[in-house]
């Protein structure tokens, strides 16, 4: 199963459709709390695409604090960290970051975390440039992960 963790379900509809067309199963999760709860014990993870700027189920009651996520600017980075420490053997290797961030200090944080966890970072703009090609990239990543 490919999990797409992004609050913007509509924008990624086409990507999800393409992944399904090329034979992959996809589940969408639209907030960090649900993602953490579902994925910590998930045993069918082929890949988790995490949007870095990600919301929570309820800002006032989330376990993701405003402070640690820089006002929910980099929630996805904290989610990846927590999944990596969750004990689930799928993580962190089967995580990839997805982001359309353009602010330099955010991009540098994403790159740093990618390097630290040894996981890839995809720019969302690539999807709009060629959704089929992007989906093939994802499929290749999934296949390589499966071999490891």
């Amino acid at each position: 199963m490919i999990y797409v963790v992004d609050e913007d379900i509509v924008q990624l509809q086409a990507l999800v459709a393409v992944l399904e067309v090329i034979g992959l199963d996809v589940t969408q999760i639209d907030n960090a709390d649900d993602a953490l709860e579902s994925l910590t014990s998930a045993s069918d993870v082929a890949l988790v695409l995490i949007d870095v700027m990600l919301g929570t189920r309820d800002a006032d009651q989330s376990t993701f604090s405003r402070k640690s996520t820089q006002d929910f600017l980099v929630t996805g980075l904290e989610l990846a960290d927590r999944l990596a420490k969750s004990g689930n053997p799928a993580f962190p290797s089967r995580i990839a970051f997805l982001s359309m961030a353009s602010r330099p200090h955010v991009v540098s944080q994403i790159k740093e975390k990618s390097k630290e966890l040894g996981i890839p970072f995809f720019d969302k703009r690539e999807i709009a440039k060629g959704v089929m090609e992007f989906a093939e990239k994802i499929k290749l990543l999934v296949e390589n992960q499966a071999k490891e």
Binding site: D8, Q11, Q13, A59, K124, I127
Partner: protein, 594 residues
Amino acid sequence: MPAIRRRPFAIAQTILRALNRTSSATMPLATIETLLDQYELVAASFYSYSDIPDEKLILRAQVGLSYSSYESFVLPIDSTAGRCIDSLHVQVIADVGDEIDFRDKNLIAEFGLRTMLAVPLTAGEEPPNKLDTLNSLGVICVYPQASSSLEQIDILRTDLEDLRSIIAETYLQSIQLDKLRLREQVTQRAVASADLNSFLHRVCRLLQDEWPYEAASVFIHDERADILRLGATTGYSQKISKQEVVISLNDENDDVAATFRTGVTTVVGGNSLTGIVSNAIHESIAGIARATILIPLYEPSNAEARRTIGVLRVVNKLLRHDQRIEVFSFGWEDFEFLTFVCDVVGVVASMFDRVSKSKDDFERSLHGVQNNLNGVLTTLDFLNGLMSRRDTLSLEKYAYMVPTAKAQVQALCWQAERFSRRDEHNMLKPMKCDLLSDVFAKLGPLLRPLADSFATPIGSLPTFNKIFAGCPSVQANPDELITVFRNLFENSIKYSKRRRPGLEITISWEIADTAASTLKVIYRDNGIGILEKDSGRIFYEGFRSENAMRRCQLGAGLGLFQSKEILARLNGSIVLSNRSTPTEFTIIVPIWRD
């Protein structure tokens, strides 16, 4: 001392002339230098009074002595000079050597001090014998020559008695000049700043570089998230990300939050003799944070109740004499001066805030537009890819994406229209408007495609024909009412729970009053609801509640604001009558009269 004659007016003239050239920092020295010169004194010192948070005297200037001979620049209130503060007249102490409470006794021997005249400086109502109306400003200590006769000392005392109110007033006026100077400095910085944070940073640097404060920070209230953010600081010794500094308004242990909540100026720490450090201080400065003053920033308003928009925190007042620096608490001058700083900064900050809200509003909408355009582009790319592969099965399966993409583009057009037609709405005249045929007949067909574009499952939608049968016409412009209800529908769709049983919207109407002059329409949905803390703000321009913000990029917080504006112009209204399960809005519109 010079020949025996009284000449307070000539001396007063000299002091007043000096006022033009002095700030509150230099006025004390200018004053005692004049006295020293005119009366050929051995020495003189000028102390200002502080009761923040406890009473003490602070050495502003001295001539004839040596700063290094002082144990400290702060004198306790129970010292010889301190005891004269409450006096109504100049006090003559015949021999300071006999005074137990004269702290710096080494000065006596070193400079041959004997007689001291303590001149209390007060500002307040006359007659001077009403002590409880007087405000203590400070005290001047003058030391005549040891050889002075009793007659000379008495003349000096009488002159000083006449001069003390002028000196006090001059000292007060020097603060006013400081304020004028500061206003000019802040204005220059406002003009040079591109945005609020850069302006706040310049203000903090100004207080640090050109006024005697060691560090300053400004915290600004983020209305959307209902927290305080660090807007600017000069106090942190290490580079920090401002995003890391977030203060919850409910934090009981935080002085900044407390000042914001109460709207009361607070002083933390401040005993320079014991060096009390507040745990709440975050700035790390070369010395120890001995005292902090926190002053609320207000939005300018003529109303009695002003809105607090932030907090200014200033850490440590520095007193520099020669090469010696002492850190101590704040005096009444600082209280007055920094309150003025906040008044000026509050005005400028509010103006910047308004501009940046509009800019944020536009950027958010633009971001939403960009996201949705990317979504449409991706959809078209995908369908094109399927066509290239001649994958007719998938084309059939995903054909639903075409009306979804169309609805997305339509939503984008509405968003653009929102910006382009804002002013035009002012010019649309109310007319006879039938809710069914002029409003809901047009809106109804758009609901399902719009819901699909947001992947919102539908439970039940209103059957407008049935609901509005027999409904009287209203006095409104149809396009404007379409906007009002479109905004409500859009919010319901965007902020639905997205799970079974799906979105449910109900609408009903009734005649609102016995004179049958207004129609009440009640709109309900089963969406995510509105948080209690947000319910007072949902009609503000640009406001989006936190749980709404996290749901969808398309939206600029204008819908409810726009609806409220439109209805107000029509002599109607919209209120949130229930915030959750269901969310309910009550709309009042005037009924059409022939």
